[in-house]
């Protein structure tokens, strides 16, 4: 067996061993799969934020909001990320979409921490849950 062929076969084996690890970290396919469900998508975004991958998290939340546009915590996290990326105008635009939606104090605290003083969207009208 030539050295070239040996190299190829060994490379194939190493690649097969490395593939699962790569999938877990950076594989676009795995990242896309994670945002098919709300919980796994939010968890992925939070992991990316914890790893300081703010643009990665922004992309994750964008995918999530395509599928779940009404999920308030996802849009709040998206807005807070825009603030952290110094896009305050974009953040305020996203927050404007949440007028009349219920916002949990813990979620708003995250926005306030990232954005500082920013207008809070008005709460739902009385007698309206959403």
């Amino acid at each position: 067996m030539t050295a070239k062929m040996l190299s190829f076969l060994l490379g194939l084996s190493v690649a097969a061993l490395l593939a699962p690890a790569a999938r877990a970290q950076d594989d676009p396919d795995a990242l896309a799969a994670a945002t098919q469900q709300l919980d796994s998508g939010m968890a992925l975004a939070r992991r990316q934020i914890a790893a300081s991958d703010l643009t990665g998290a922004l992309g994750t939340l964008e995918r999530l909001l395509f599928a779940y546009p009404e999920v308030v915590p996802a849009r709040l996290l998206y807005a807070s990320l825009l603030c952290r990326l110094d896009d305050r105008q974009g953040a305020e635009l996203e927050l404007g979409l949440l007028a009349g939606k219920p916002i949990a104090e813990a979620d708003w605290a995250g926005v306030a921490a990232a954005c500082g003083a920013v207008p809070r969207p008005p709460p739902p009208k009385k007698g309206k849950n959403r």
Binding site: A3, K4, L6, S7, F8, L10, G11, L12, V14, A15, A16, L18, A19, A22, R23, D26, D27, P28, D29, L31, A32, A33, T35, Q36, Q37, L38, I49, A51, S52, D53, L54, T55, G56, L58, G59, E62, R63, L65, F66, A67, Y68, P69, E70, V71, L82, R84, L85, D86, D87, R88, Q89, G90, E92, L93, G96, L97, K101
Partner: protein, 303 residues
């Protein structure tokens, strides 16, 4: 085994690992995956006339042509983790993609013939060694690690003409006009990111956008670009409405429990069409007005 064999082994492993990441045949060069699809999005295969609906997690092949319908979006995740979002009424193709993770290098080219788009540089390659550019019919945008958006065509004219820096008297061509807006990261960015910028070349002029919200408008081939100027809140909102799904009527999407799965466009379009047929005259008109308002925030102003 000698040193060179190990070197070759490493190279082979890197190439095959990349192939494993895509799970695609080697002959058709996969450049990424469809990471999210909303409503009507179709792909025309590279070098063919065969058109198919876009499906989540399907491979994106070099020179595939993406076409989106009204209120439709596609997010492509490239192998280098660059995110490219295609907005409503767009026609786009990735026509250059070279990515070598082992050498930490890449070169990416995207052509936007019409419609709205958002580009977010991938984190993997921090110092790209090759050009990363987005071309419109009138401008070439050189990307320097950043997030930016643009729109080509009639929507660009509609949005730009309402900006004070542009006005309604500028002569534009509807198949050429391009509006480019930098979103960030800005100078006060946090985390593992650096401030970004784009260099927009129109004809023999290059204009740098290096602050969030800075915009440039190129109305037609041969005309000087207008800007940079700070885009208005209404202008940014109008651009955003082409690039995102909202919770308002017509926005679609899953509810909190994720029961309404409209990720594959055909079903979503069928539902919209079916819903429109069922609506009565006045109600239909009112909802259409609401949708129009969502697409065009200028209509919200009293005048």
């Amino acid at each position: 085994m000698s040193g060179p064999i190990f070197t070759r082994l490493g190279r082979t492993a890197a190439v095959l690992a990349a192939a494993g990441m895509t799970g695609s045949p080697v002959l058709a060069q996969a450049v990424g995956v469809n990471a999210a699809v909303r409503n009507k999005v179709v792909i025309r295969g590279a070098g063919t006339n065969k058109v198919r609906p876009a499906v989540v997690r399907e491979r994106v092949i070099l020179n595939d042509e993406v076409r989106t319908g009204t209120a439709s979006q596609l997010q492509i995740l490239l192998l280098d983790r660059t995110t490219f979002t295609v907005g409503a009424n767009a026609q786009v193709a990735v026509d250059r993609f070279v990515y070598n993770p082992a050498a930490n290098s890449r070169s990416t080219g995207v052509s936007v013939t019409r419609g709205a788009f958002r580009f977010m540089s991938g984190r993997t390659v921090r110092r790209p060694s090759g050009p990363v550019s987005v071309r419109t019919p009138v401008a070439t945008i050189g990307v320097r690690g950043t997030i930016f958006e643009g729109v080509v065509g009639e929507d660009a004219i509609r949005i730009a003409s309402r900006e004070a820096a542009v006005g309604k008297k500028v002569r534009a061509k509807k198949d050429e006009a391009s509006l480019i807006v930098l979103r960030g990261p800005g100078p006060r960015t946090q985390g593992d990111t650096s401030p970004g910028a784009v260099d927009v070349t129109v004809g023999d002029r290059t204009v740098t956008l290096d602050g969030p919200g800075l915009a440039l408008y190129a109305p037609r081939v041969g005309a000087p670009p207008i800007g940079p100027f700070q885009i208005s809140a209404a202008g940014l909102q109008a651009l955003q409405s082409l690039l995102r799904t909202t919770a308002e009527p017509g926005g679609g999407g899953k509810g909190k429990d994720g029961t309404t799965d409209a990720l594959l466009g055909v079903a979503g379009v069928a539902a919209v069409v079916g819903g429109a047929v069922l609506l009565g005259g006045k109600k239909k008109k009112k909802e259409q007005q609401e949708q129009d308002t969502q697409q065009d925030p200028y209509r919200q102003s009293p005048n």
